[in-house]
């Protein structure tokens, strides 16, 4: 691992640790829930790095978007409170099962949504959509909002500058590290993050292919 890569990883962990240090100083009893949310996020980042270093093969399985997204929304609740955002689950013709790895998909969408929340300026609308919709090639799962600072160009820049720069996303104020991790996870699912629209809302997500097994069963 290069020095710049290690520096970039160290920088990513600096933010949640700084947040915990600040939260613990001012009304620590009130801040416990927030400290827990930040801690869980930092642990998730560590788990993703650990998993990547072992290069495990993912065993894909049929999943339903609705159960996955409602699960994720529940996991995001403490982080959403921390960043004063609201998360709505919206499903649009997303009944067909998709092929994926449940835990990796969950981690990917949690990190993506966390990165988006971190990037939002305080004055912007803080309503975010965790959406799934059918497309011609499968089902898109992603994060959508009018306030999104994340688009295809930002994703391209993130990928180009990954591990080479402390701040690889000049168009995002913050949250680029979490989005970069989500991007790496999406690639391990062979469903790289791309820009999509969900009910006219711009956003970023992954296209997952329909599970053929259950289609044959249902036929």
């Amino acid at each position: 691992m290069s020095d710049s890569h290690m520096q970039a990883i160290a920088a990513q962990f600096r933010t949640p640790l700084m947040q915990i240090a600040q939260l613990a100083q001012h009304k620590p009893a009130d801040a416990l829930e927030q400290i827990q949310a930040v801690t869980n996020y930092a642990i998730k980042m560590a788990e993703v790095y650990s998993w990547h270093s072992t290069q495990q093969q993912l065993k894909l399985e049929p999943l339903t978007a609705s159960s996955l997204l409602y699960d994720i929304a529940q996991e995001l609740d403490p982080i959403a409170k921390l960043y004063e955002c609201s998360v709505q689950v919206r499903l649009h013709e997303a009944n067909r099962p998709v092929l994926g790895h449940r835990q990796t998909l969950k981690d990917m969408l949690v990190l993506l949504m966390t990165g988006v929340m971190q990037s939002l300026p305080p004055e912007q609308d803080r309503q975010l959509v965790l959406g799934a919709h059918r497309s011609a090639f499968g089902t898109v799962l992603g994060v959508f909002s009018e306030s999104l600072e994340l688009n295809q160009q930002t994703l391209t820049t993130l990928r180009r500058l990954r591990s080479k720069s402390y701040h690889p996303a000049p168009t995002m104020l913050a949250g680029h590290h979490a989005v970069s991790l989500a991007d790496q996870l999406s690639r391990s699912l062979q469903a790289p993050l791309k820009a999509f629209r969900h009910e006219h809302l711009p956003g970023v997500g992954s296209l997952l292919h329909t599970s053929q097994q259950l289609r044959l069963v249902n036929a």
């Binding site: 600040q22 001012h26 971190q118």
Partner: protein, 124 residues
């Protein structure tokens, strides 16, 4: 009024709440441009600046700030999480740009930050 320039939403909220609970009036901005707008709109007695601002770094912000005669004497404290700022070259550059003090997170406790803020505001 104190201008807090901090890109991290959570840290900004904690610092603002702490300063306000100790009698200070605080406005928060996340970028160099919105920070300059705030200085234009309000009477800012002191700016607390995290130099690692996403779109512009803190040095660029300070250069721009000091280019306006009416803001040449605005007091600025750096409050940074970046250990690179400890390097001599950065220390000298920030002093030349009129930075009163450089405080490091998380070593500098909120109480220490408040103490420094109060000292500078009293000296004004």
């Amino acid at each position: 009024m104190i201008l807090l320039v901090e890109p991290d939403v959570v840290q900004a909220r904690v610092i603002r709440q702490y300063l306000e609970s100790n009698g200070q009036e605080v406005t928060v901005r996340r970028t160099a441009q919105t920070a300059l707008d705030a200085i234009d709109q309000h009477v800012i007695d002191l700016a607390i600046l995290e130099p690692q601002i996403g779109l512009h770094n803190g040095v660029e912000f300070l250069y721009e700030l000091r280019s306006y005669p009416e803001w040449d004497k605005t007091k600025v404290i750096l409050h940074t999480s970046n250990p690179a700022v400890q390097a001599d070259e950065f220390q000298q550059a920030f002093k030349l740009l009129g930075v009163e003090d450089i405080l490091y997170k998380p070593q500098t406790k909120l109480a220490d930050l408040l103490r420094r803020v109060n000292t500078l505001l009293k000296a004004a």
